[in-house]
């Protein structure tokens, strides 16, 4: 039973990935990708990692929908079912993706996977928490702060308006001067 579900989800994940490049609307491509990620999240549930699995589901839904905001910015055709393709430079991209796929598949097949030592933790969520807050804490802190810094930096670089524009040169304006108030 578990094996059948595993293969169904695996096939679903790959099919979703292929659909991204086969459908002719950006919205459909986004949700095909989401479907693929959801299948991966379900696989994690299947192998006994409920916390990570649900986290993948949660984060991927939010991420894909944020992507949809950008999509609306660049292609504001609701329901936009006009012919368009997600593939550019057909030959080059096919070659690159074939090569990457071959390399990854070879890696998966050729790696001498280690034998299992010990047994899985009784409560994987608890074990994950202990690992993150214990031996792996330094790494997690570093990565976490790096991601946060990247996000803040990219927002600061992307926006033309900073807090001095909003709250005045002395930052003493009580109400921010935002464009939404009426004048651009």
């Amino acid at each position: 039973m578990g094996v059948v579900v595993f293969w169904v989800l695996a096939a679903g994940a790959v099919a979703g990935g292929i659909a991204v490049f086969a459908v002719d609307s950006m919205a459909r491509a986004t949700f095909a990708l989401l479907l693929s990620f959801l299948c991966v999240g379900a696989e994690l549930l299947l192998i006994g990692l409920p916390y990570l699995g649900l986290l993948v589901v949660l984060m991927m839904i939010m991420e894909m929908l944020i992507m949809a905001v950008f999509m609306v910015m660049y292609m504001m055709n609701p329901a936009g079912l006009m012919p368009m393709t997600m593939v550019h430079n057909r030959r080059g991209s096919a070659a690159v993706s074939a090569a990457v796929f071959a390399a990854l598949a070879a890696g998966a097949l050729l790696t001498p996977w280690p034998e299992r030592r010990g047994v899985p933790a009784h409560d994987t969520t608890f074990a994950l928490g202990e690992a993150v807050m214990g031996p792996k804490m330094a790494v997690m802190m570093l990565v976490g702060v790096a991601i946060l810094a990247t996000m803040i930096t990219s927002v600061v670089l992307a926006t033309g308006r900073g807090r001095y524009d909003r709250h005045g040169d002395r930052l003493d304006a009580r109400r921010p001067a935002d464009p939404g108030r009426g004048a651009p």
Partner: protein
């Protein structure tokens, strides 16, 4: 304490959710009729049933160049989200399942509303629908983080993400007593995720119904019923999280669950009518600069208390 997987819980779940959703819709209709000065306001309680019959008997309207696949996916997703989320909500001691990460399950399922509303708005091929979907994403960015922190606070207080254990941890003192901020933030996020009352901007009348602008017939029925079901389920989840679950004197546990849920749900519907719609261009900043710090302080207090 919980009896996950009880067969009767599976059978009882859909009718209970439907009943609560219908009750909320009927209560709202009565309040609306009273405010408009219509005679015999109590009769309006049947309006949701009438509307359901009307929508069932109508063909859905087809809009030129709509993305019907995405539209239908969104329409069906909304009630599905409500039912999936309800699986970890206990009725008394019984629930469909009680996974070790029940709270995360609820959160992950509830986020799918983002997709549902956006899909319906985009699929309608209408500028108003697009704006409605867009508005829900802005709303999601404003409410989701405070909501997650409120859930985390509860998990921290109970030292477990399992809903059954969270209920058990409240045998001495309900969480609402020492986590009032988290409770308030949770209730606000209930209104936000069901885009109801003051947080109904994604389907507001100023955009001709927003994301739901083109919905008609069974499509509309699914969407509206799903929305009320979601409101009911999210309100019901406040009971195990903050209000001691089925605990209470005299009545059986399931009855206490229902009574508490009805009070929370009825209160939300009543309170929701007492505010105008809140727009995210104004509210998002408050959500990030007031709600998130407030609930973080709450979490700190709970964390210190637990230590």
């Amino acid at each position: 304490m919980g009896e996950p997987g009880a067969v009767w819980a599976v059978a009882v779940l859909p009718p209970v959710v439907a009943g609560l959703a219908l009750g909320a819709a009927g209560w709202d209709s009565v309040l609306a009729a009273r405010d408009a000065g219509r005679g015999r306001a109590l009769r309006a309680a049947a309006d949701p049933l009438r509307e359901a019959a009307r929508l069932l008997l109508r063909p859905p309207r087809t809009v030129a160049a709509a993305d019907r696949l995405l539209l239908r996916a969104g329409v069906v997703l909304l009630p599905a989200v409500a039912l999936l989320a309800a699986m970890v909500v206990p009725l008394g001691n019984a629930m469909v399942m009680d996974p070790a990460v029940g709270v995360v399950w609820f959160n992950a399922v509830e986020v799918a509303v983002w997709a549902a509303v956006w899909l319906v708005g985009w699929g309608s091929n209408s500028a108003f629908g697009l704006v409605g979907g867009y508005r829900f994403l802005a709303q999601g960015l404003a409410y989701e983080l405070p909501h997650m922190f409120a859930l985390t606070t509860v998990g921290l207080g109970a030292q477990s993400l399992r809903v059954g254990e969270i209920v058990q941890a409240q045998q001495g003192l309900w969480f609402v007593v020492w986590m009032p901020v988290a409770f308030a933030v949770y209730l606000l996020s209930v209104l936000a995720m069901a885009f109801w009352g003051p947080l109904a901007h994604p389907v507001a009348d100023d955009a001709a119904g927003g994301a739901a602008v083109e919905l008609s017939g069974p499509d509309r029925l699914f969407f509206l019923a799903g929305r009320y079901a979601l409101l009911a389920v999210a309100a019901a989840f406040a009971v195990p999280l903050f209000l001691g679950g089925g605990a209470g004197p005299l009545l059986p546990a399931w009855a206490w669950s229902l009574v508490k849920t009805a009070v929370v749900l009825g209160g939300l519907v009543w309170a929701g009518r007492r505010f105008p719609v809140v727009r995210m261009d104004r509210f998002a900043e408050a959500a990030w600069t007031v709600l998130i710090p407030a609930v973080l302080v709450q979490m700190l207090v709970v964390g210190i208390a637990v230590l």
